[in-house]
């Protein structure tokens, strides 16, 4: 549906986008995930028409988008700041896009009423944006974006301005809405939890390039590059060389068990990644595992995070255990994991 083909954009010496290609399907909930300044917002602005790429093509259902001015694209953009018109009421804000299409007044009124109903703001139609809470403003922005029935809805950090509780509600709401209206959603976010919980597929961006496009579970369980392994979720990373067998040979710890995602020639630089919840805390007398001592225990209710200082490893090893942890600060432990639970990937360049 939306095809981004070899798009590049630089600002002076800074390369915001470097030959980015993506294909997003009809009705998909797609996320562009990356740290701030990685170029994802630039890509969004190019699709919306507020930025022009130096090279590349963008098509929507085969139609060239770049030749059209922003006000002639069948695309809605929900701004991070919401950009609600402060001098108009909620109803006027929502009606704005329909009025531009010169629809009959009766139809506008009806559609505005319907969409305000959908986002649960019927009672607030005559208020000004300044009289609404953050969550309500977000709903108005959303209503204003979807009322035009765009083929594509772009959302720039849609939940970042909300506090945690409201954010969880809105996440569910966004998902419900997306399946209800059947519009293709492309959301830009730096929050990987948000991307994971919302999106069908995620493209991970880093310094202007797409590192990996995958479904959330694959991205989490089978990161293809060190950047993705580190950026998406918490991970413990060990470097070494590919052993040819299951695992890597580390200078400090010898053989570490893991599963290579692709065929790796022995001796090649490689990285092993293992998720905190896949690591087992064992007694210090256990036969297998890396010896260390507990640095800190944080209790989060359902899970506890234990960080273990392993001599020879720069960062503490993070271990997640169910419920309350049985260890305390200073306890001598061993950390270990199964080969199938750790991922080995090549380190390029």
């Amino acid at each position: 549906m939306l095809r981004i083909d070899g798009v590049s954009r630089r600002f002076g010496d800074v390369i915001a986008l470097d030959d980015v290609s993506l294909e997003i399907g009809q009705g998909e909930f797609f996320a562009l995930l990356g740290p701030s300044g990685c170029g994802k917002t630039t890509l969004l602005r190019i699709v919306a028409g507020f930025e022009t790429p130096d090279a590349g093509k963008v098509t929507l259902d085969g139609e060239d988008l770049l030749s059209r001015p922003p006000n002639r694209r069948p695309i809605s953009l929900m701004f991070q700041s919401y950009a609600l018109f402060p001098h108009m009421t909620v109803a006027k804000n929502v009606a704005y896009g329909l009025e531009r299409e010169r629809l009959p007044r009766q139809e506008i009124k009806q559609r505005v009423g319907e969409v305000l109903e959908t986002v649960g703001l019927s009672a607030h139609a005559v208020r000004k944006p300044a009289q609404l809470s953050g969550g309500q403003r977000q709903r108005v922005a959303l209503a204003r974006s979807i009322v035009k029935r765009p083929r594509l809805l772009l959302l720039d950090e849609p939940l970042s301005a909300l506090d945690k509780k409201v954010r969880a509600d809105m996440q569910l709401e966004l998902k419900r809405l997306q399946s209800e209206v059947g519009i293709t959603f492309v959301v830009v976010t730096h929050d990987q939890e948000e991307a994971m919980s919302l999106a069908d597929r995620i493209a991970v961006f880093d310094s202007g390039s797409v590192r990996q496009v995958d479904e959330p579970i694959s991205l989490y369980e089978r990161p293809r590059s060190p950047f993705v392994a580190d950026f998406v979720g918490a991970n413990n990373l060990f470097s070494g060389t590919a052993s040819g067998l299951d695992g890597i040979r580390s200078e400090q710890f010898g053989m570490l068990p893991g599963t290579p995602l692709t065929e790796l020639t022995a001796g090649r630089q490689a990285l092993l990644a293992v998720r905190p919840e896949k690591i087992e805390l064992a007694d210090e007398n256990a036969t297998r595992g890396l010896a260390g001592s507990v640095l800190d225990v944080s209790f989060y209710g359902g899970v506890s995070h234990v960080s273990v200082d392993v001599p020879g490893h720069a960062k503490p090893v993070l271990v997640a255990v169910q419920g309350a942890a049985a260890v305390r600060q200073g306890t001598k432990v061993k950390v270990r994991w199964e080969a199938r639970d750790a991922v080995v990937m090549a380190v390029d360049q």
């Binding site: 919306a48 028409g49 507020f50 001015p69 922003p70 006000n71 002639r72 695309i75 809605s76 953009l77 701004f79 700041s81 950009a83 609600l84 018109f85 402060p86 001098h87 704005y96 896009g97 531009r100 299409e101 204003r144 035009k148």
Partner: protein
């Protein structure tokens, strides 16, 4: 216990009020002594008779106000209103695009442009008005330039057009600055949102930019209108003997005709017009 807890905020607010009074009193005293008191004295003379050789005779009379509605003087008031309104409108038409462009310049150029706008203020006001006489006069720069293109000569000097030109030149910066402040404050994403929702550039301006910068439009208009309406230097120097504005009339009543009570009555009329406009402006601004 309870009363102690309650007493605190009261004390603090009293202290704050005292502090505000201390900070405000120098300015307040200055305004009262040098503006409010003289103004009250002056306006009180409107109900008295003029002295034979100037000054005031303290006998009640309404004749000053009767004279005010004389078509001769009403005409001057209307003319002044017309000239000030025209000046304000042209200043708005020139000032809005100027302010709009400046607000969208890169930061460095913004500063340079704003300094350039204020730069004329660094030269003496009278010198600048004299310069306009040189420019507009018969063999002046404007006409010699027109001659090159085979046009002219224009008889501009000593007409209402010259007055408007002079007022416009003098007070245009007062239009540009508040407009710039209003436009610069506007979130550029609002324009993008409008465009994203299908609005053309013109519709975006009409529906979003203009309404949201209306307070700036009103402030700028007031800043230009007020000094234009009561001005007497520019009409005197550029308007010649034919045109007279209410400012000249007031000055003449005090200095030439020596009719203080009627001069004060005219001044009162001028003040009333301006206060009405000021109230209207703040009312509109609050609704916007």
């Amino acid at each position: 216990m309870k009363s102690e807890v309650k007493a605190r905020p009261v004390n603090r607010s009293r202290g704050r009020r005292l502090g505000a009074f201390v900070f405000l009193s120098p300015g307040l005293a200055y305004l009262v002594v040098f503006m409010l008191v003289p103004l009250a004295l002056l306006l009180s003379t409107t109900v008295f008779r003029r002295g034979r050789f100037g000054g005031v005779v303290y006998e009640f009379t309404a004749e000053n106000f009767e004279r005010l509605v004389d078509p001769l003087y009403l005409g001057v008031l209307v003319d002044s209103l017309k000239i000030a309104t025209l000046t304000t409108l042209i200043a708005l038409l020139i000032g809005y695009p100027t302010a709009y462009v400046i607000a969208r310049l890169p930061r460095k150029w913004k500063t340079i442009a704003l300094v350039a706008i204020v730069l004329p203020f660094w030269t003496n006001f009278l010198i600048r008005v004299y310069a306009w006489i040189m420019l507009l006069s018969g063999p002046g720069l404007v006409n010699s330039a027109l001659k090159v293109f085979g046009l002219g000569p224009l008889e501009v000097l000593y007409t209402e057009g010259a007055i408007v030109t002079g007022l416009l030149y003098s007070y245009l910066p007062l239009m540009v600055l508040p407009l710039y402040a209003a436009i610069d404050r506007l979130d550029p994403q609002l324009r993008e949102a409008s465009s994203n929702l299908g609005a053309s550039a013109f519709t975006t301006f009409r529906k979003v930019t203009l309404p949201l910068t209306m307070p700036g439009v009103l402030t700028g208009s007031l800043f230009v209108f007020v000094p234009s309406f009561g001005n007497f230097v520019i009409p005197e120097m550029l308007g010649g003997s034919k045109s007279i504005m209410v400012g000249n009339l007031i000055r003449d009543q005090f200095l030439k005709a020596r009719d203080w009570p009627f001069g004060a009555t005219l001044a009162l009329a001028l003040i009333v017009v301006l206060v009405v406009l000021l109230v209207a402006q703040s009312w509109v601004a609050r609704r916007a």
